[in-house]
Symmetry: C2
Subunit: 345 residues, 2 copies
């Protein structure tokens, strides 16, 4: 049986907003030549720190852009900035058992948005990793910084630390017990935001939500990280309780639903991403509740990411025909699902 944190917290992300001193913020930077110059400056500075690949928004294909978005390495806003948006994606460190992903968006809302994503509840580690790189970058780039205010950012909500700590949460219990809207209200009173994983306003896909801090000014980084972590642990407890309630209220229905979802994905011949996401979310719930078992709960989230149309399309020279893609996805599912077993009572 996996523990509550493991079956609730998918990943942790810390991002720092930074701007170059003596340059207008991106929304005031109307000259694309100057904006492109910033991309080069940041790329050169970053390349001295780690090995990065540069993705210019005006060069990459739609498939690659969508895949980077799906993997939370770039934002929708950056992808739209064809003129001078870019992203640096660090090559994965082979010795990193947590498979952390490091990226820098350039010319998004701020000149730099440095971020580190890591599996599980690991905000401190993510912050350590990102601030080490940030320290190195700050030796090579002069960041806009005010002794009173801290780091200066395009939007005042990021002013000060420029830090946003986000945690991705799998909340099927709270969702199914219809407790999410109340939770979202309560969390916002603590100065945090909870929302569906694909950005503000969008509905939660696959019971996945993101919690992040709203306050960046007047507090230090450790305070932000510990406050977000505290809220996460509270949500983990609420989710655990909600799962127990859900199971107590409809034991047979829930078990049946989770196990059928497993049976379908282990045997289907074709499956759309939408249906796949609905079914595998029930499989994850089934593993969390002990109806199903697998070695690695987190591997399911990686598998989900890989099954997105954009990421499947990346495997080939040209995008899949949609019918072929659904066949290919089902084939991958059948193979992956050999690692998951039904637990008889």
């Amino acid at each position: 049986m996996i523990n509550n944190i493991e079956s609730t917290v998918a990943s942790s992300r810390v991002r720092l907003a930074r701007n170059l001193a003596d340059h207008p913020f991106p929304d005031r930077l109307s000259d694309p030549i100057k904006a492109k110059q910033i991309v080069r400056t940041v790329f050169e500075a970053a390349s001295g720190v780690r090995s990065f690949r540069l993705y210019s928004m005006d060069v990459i294909t739609e498939t690659v852009a969508q895949s980077l978005r799906d993997d939370h390495l770039i934002s929708a806003e950056l992808a739209k900035n064809k003129a001078c948006g870019a992203a640096l994606i660090a090559e994965e460190e082979e010795e990193d058992p947590l498979h952390g992903k490091f990226s820098v968006m350039i010319n998004e809302e701020d000149h730099l948005r440095e971020q580190y994503i890591v599996k599980g509840l690991n905000l401190s580690l993510a912050y350590l990793k990102i601030s080490a790189v940030d320290d190195e970058l700050s030796k090579k780039l002069r960041f806009a910084f005010d002794a009173q205010l801290g780091y200066l950012t395009a939007c005042p909500t990021n002013l000060g630390t420029g830090l946003r700590a986000s945690v991705m949460l799998f909340l099927p219990g709270l969702t199914r017990m219809k407790k999410m809207s109340r939770l979202i209200r309560e969390i916002s009173r603590l100065g945090h935001t909870v929302r569906g994983v694909y950005g503000e306003g969008s509905a939660a896909e696959g019971y996945m939500y993101q919690i992040s801090n709203e306050v960046t000014l007047g507090v230090d980084e450790d305070y932000i990280l510990s406050e977000v972590q505290r809220a996460v642990l509270e949500i983990v407890n609420l989710e655990s309780h909600a799962r127990k309630e859900l199971l107590a209220s409809k034991p047979t229905e829930i078990r049946d639903q989770c196990c059928r979802a497993y049976g379908i994905l282990a045997n289907c011949e074709r499956v759309s991403f939408k249906e796949f996401l609905r079914l595998i979310s029930d499989v994850k719930l089934g593993v969390a509740l002990g109806f199903l078992e697998t070695e690695n709960f987190g591997a399911m989230d990686d598998f989900i990411a890989g099954m997105r149309p954009s990421n499947l399309d990346l495997l080939r020279d040209e995008p899949f025909d949609p019918v072929e893609r659904d066949l290919f996805r089902a084939q991958k599912c059948r193979r992956f699902f050999r690692k998951i077993r039904r637990v008889e009572k």
Copy 2:
């Protein structure tokens, strides 16, 4: 890969209608004491031939009556005749590899309806078995017989041989390709009837149909048997062709549907008989088309029969609560489905 006959013909049945001379036909037999006397007379005569269990319709529970009906050992009409209807069910012969089932209905439309049901396409064997018993019975009972007309029966459609040869057919291809109504019309021109398995007028459950001869008079038994067999072989060919057409027209859809049905039944926590029948019919289709494999195709029909509410209720002292029954059925399914495997292309 199983052959076409095996995957199309479920079972064969031969029944003989007989009446006792010097007794009014059942519908004219208003005196229940005399009707009960007929039950005793037949039971005594039959007991000298084989070991039979007597089921009086006024004594057996609703569950037992429903189970006998579901197993095609008695008719709905007999079950309604509480006053003096009865059935003799032969104990199974241990050495019989075909698990033939022998029964005699007493005081149905005729005094005796002797029948033998056997798996697969085995009309001749069924006739051999039933006529051997009928010969023995005729030594002890005087049957109403006319040298010109043959055996006399309550309804003229059974006059002469009193023989009805029926074959149960699994016709998913013809059903899905919408060819059944045309087939039914053509078969009726040959003097046969095709209908859903649960009697006249009812819709086919689980793609199962029954073909039987209409003509009993003016032809001998061998002719009837060979004509029905000829029609069955023709339908087997048409079904085989229809399955190929179905597969060619919707290869992915059909494979997906069959394999999902398998995945659900192998993993569900609860399942109603109605849903079970729909799903296992798709599993049978999947085995017939080679998407799934199992050692014994015919075992699936026995399994289906055993999963009917009536037959599940027989396993216990008192009928199941419906919710419990659906749980129990799903549990049985999961165990049974270990014998069935998905075939990767």
